[in-house]
């Protein structure tokens, strides 16, 4: 059994469970409104839930039985997306995702320019550290440049962090 088939089987079952949970939650977690309505707040979610269950069940069936010839012919006609290679550099992806979470965490605490510069440099160190000086300059220009462009030109507020002590 190829990896691809296995992944689709797992995904289809996960989606079926997700659909069932969504549907069940429509019954148990959506309260009733004070005034009676023709279509309550839970009606639309229930309808979507049923559709999702039917479709994900069809997906389960497809992934376990394989696609029909018709579907494959259709896929060949529309096929614009190429398949992703199954090779995954887990270490790099993991570190970068971790960095993104840290970036989100320090975004307001350290302010936009500082956190952005740190994220930029961390990313460069992980991915390619051959041009550190050049990249450090780019990082400085980008993080502070964007901060000032947004706050002063576009008048969109960004968190200044400790820099606000200097009135920036």
């Amino acid at each position: 059994m190829s990896n691809d088939v296995k992944e689709n089987r797992i995904a289809s079952v996960v989606l079926l469970l997700f659909s069932a949970t969504y549907f069940a939650m429509a019954f148990f977690t959506i309260g009733q409104p004070a005034s009676k309505q023709i279509l309550g707040p839970d009606a639309f979610p229930k309808a979507i839930g049923i559709l999702m269950i039917v479709l994900s069940a069809a997906y389960v069936a497809q992934s376990f039985r394989g696609m029909s010839k018709e579907d494959e012919a259709r896929a060949a006609l529309i096929g614009a997306d190429e398949k992703l290679s199954s090779y995954v550099d887990v270490k790099t992806v993991g570190i970068m995702l971790g960095l993104m979470l840290i970036y989100a965490f320090i975004f307001e605490r350290l302010g936009y320019p500082i956190s952005t510069f740190l994220m930029f440099m961390a990313g460069v160190l992980v991915l390619d550290r051959r041009h550190l000086v050049r990249d450090a300059i780019i990082g400085l220009v980008i993080s502070f440049g964007l901060h000032f462009a947004f706050t002063f030109l576009l008048r969109v507020q960004l968190p200044a962090g400790p820099l606000s002590w200097f009135g920036l």
Binding site: Q37, I38, E70, S85, V156
Partner: protein, 504 residues
């Protein structure tokens, strides 16, 4: 107001210095986005929406439309010179474009792509201008039931063509609809799927989902394999201009590409990528030099490039006249306009003529700018590919965070975006199209509203959707679009049941 007054009004709006500059910035950024691998028009517009926050709605959509068109143009350049399509709608252009470049005919290939895009874009704008008001006037008679059915048909038709598997595409749409139900139900005030999280009461912002699913997932895809072989870039040898022979062969291809792209990709809602595939298939059947296709025939560049731009223009008709997105990119534009507080739809032509006609006029101007930007400056665009991949990835991360944060000043949104980035990666891996999720999300609330209003009119009877002719027609359209791949089975079953006579 008559036609020429409208056009004069439009150019009056579009030719203000501010809007001209915005149109230029739009097509400029759009071309960059198109050239850069991996960032398509959807990602590009989603990432750049924050720039429009401080702008008037008219200026905002002029900028967005510029980006949209620019990205459609730019995608062809890398297809031809590097054999790496900038976005999915220029995959087909690689087939013959790269072969032409290998034979030293990169110049005519680039010219054919740009001129085809220009002709198709202008044609689509012209049709929008001519039929738009009529379509909008017709749609003004729509009540809630018609609107519900229209959105239902829109969703099914668009998604039935969105991905390689019908089931996966439709499933993706319903996930989008499900996400749209998160937050306080506006009619009853009851919270739904909020998990007691106060920030979820307003629902999930579509931009959080869109940037996660498209921009961040692209980053993850690239991070998975950073050591991809760098492809050889071909030089542009000789002039850019097409010979007489090239023109003679291209003009019919332009025409076929424009028409097929406009109707298949635009009006039928199949999107630019499918439009380009269909037009290439059409060339294989109709073109005089079909044996040369795949080995560097100019028709193979001219037709698909015309088709994908015509499709982009056709999708704008849906957005402006009906308020229904006909493609993933226009869904993002619709979401952005709703955020600014403007509801696109037939009323726009009456209430905001300066918006509609200003946009139309700026689409003409943008097309001319693109032709000028692309032909003589093509060498400059290719240089953009010198940006190392790792820097590009870090830039996309920074812009994603910036865009999502500036929308609501919410750190929680940032975490959610990263989550959707991971989900987006798995969807890509599983070949589940992500664009229908955005369509479903943007239309979900509107659909629910229309459904409730309809049932209020009918006092709770669902029959209202099938007793009104327009609504019935639209629902039938939806049914046909979903079931047509399976019609063959009905025939087969019929033959099995009633013997061979039915087959003969």
């Amino acid at each position: 107001m008559n036609f020429f007054d409208n056009l004069a009004l439009g150019f009056g709006v579009a030719v203000t210095p501010m809007n001209l500059v915005l149109a230029f910035i739009g097509v400029f950024l759009g071309t960059i986005i198109g050239v850069l691998p991996g960032i398509g028009p959807m990602t590009g517009i989603a990432l750049l929406i924050p720039i429009t926050f401080g702008l008037e709605p008219t200026s905002a959509i002029i900028l967005m439309a510029g980006i949209y068109y620019g990205a459609m143009y730019g995608g062809s350049t890398t297809s031809i010179l590097v054999n790496a399509p900038g976005e999915s709608s220029s995959v087909v252009t690689c087939f013959d474009g790269y072969q032409m470049a290998k034979k030293g005919r990169a110049g005519p290939a680039l010219a054919a792509a740009a001129i085809g895009s220009f002709i198709a874009g202008t044609f689509a704008t012209l049709v929008l201008m001519l039929v738009g008001p009529a379509v909008a006037a017709f749609a003004l008679n729509f009540g809630p039931p018609e609107y519900f059915s229209l959105m239902f048909a829109g969703l099914t038709v668009v998604t039935s063509l969105a991905g390689r598997s019908l089931v996966k595409a439709l499933l993706s749409t319903t996930i989008g609809l499900a996400i749209a139900t998160i937050g306080i139900d506006l009619q009853s005030g009851v919270p739904r799927y909020t998990f007691r999280n106060p920030e979820l009461l307003d629902g999930l912002e579509f931009l959080v989902v869109a940037i996660g699913l498209f921009a961040l997932s692209e980053v993850i895809v690239n991070l998975c394999n950073m050591n991809q072989a760098v492809q050889e870039r071909l030089e542009i040898k000789g002039g850019l201009w097409m010979s007489k022979e090239d023109w003679k062969r291209s003009i019919p291809a332009f025409t076929r590409g424009t028409l097929s792209g406009f109707f298949v990709g635009g009006i039928a809602g199949a999107g630019a990528a499918v439009a380009s595939f269909v037009s290439y298939g059409l060339e294989k059947k109709m073109c005089k030099y079909k044996d040369e296709l795949g080995q560097g025939a100019i028709e193979g560049v001219a037709a698909p490039e015309a088709a994908n731009n015509a499709a982009a223009g056709g999708a704008m008709i849906h957005l402006l006249c009906l308020g229904i997105p006909g493609s993933g990119t226009t869904a993002i534009m619709l979401g952005a306009l709703l955020m600014i507080g403007l509801q696109p739809g037939p009323l726009l032509f009456v209430q905001n003529p300066q918006f509609v006609w200003g946009l139309i006029a700026s689409m003409y101007i943008g097309n001319v700018m693109l032709l000028v930007l692309n032909l003589p400056l093509v060498g400059m665009w290719v240089k953009i590919l010198d940006i190392p991949l790792y820097l590009l990835m870090v830039f996309i991360i920074l812009f994603s965070f910036l865009g999502v944060y500036t929308m609501n000043n919410s750190v929680q949104d940032l975490f959610l975006m990263v989550g959707f980035g991971v989900i987006g990666y798995f969807l890509r891996r599983l070949d589940i199209p992500a664009a229908p999720i955005i369509l479903g999300m943007v239309l979900g609330d509107l659909m629910e509203q229309a459904m409730r209003q309809s049932l209020m009119i009918s006092d709770g009877s669902l029959a209202i959707f099938v007793t009104r002719p327009i609504s019935l027609f639209l629902l039938l359209l939806a049914v046909i679009s979903i079931t047509n791949p399976y019609w063959k089975y009905i025939g087969i079953g019929w033959r099995k049941l009633f013997g061979r006579s039915a087959a003969a």
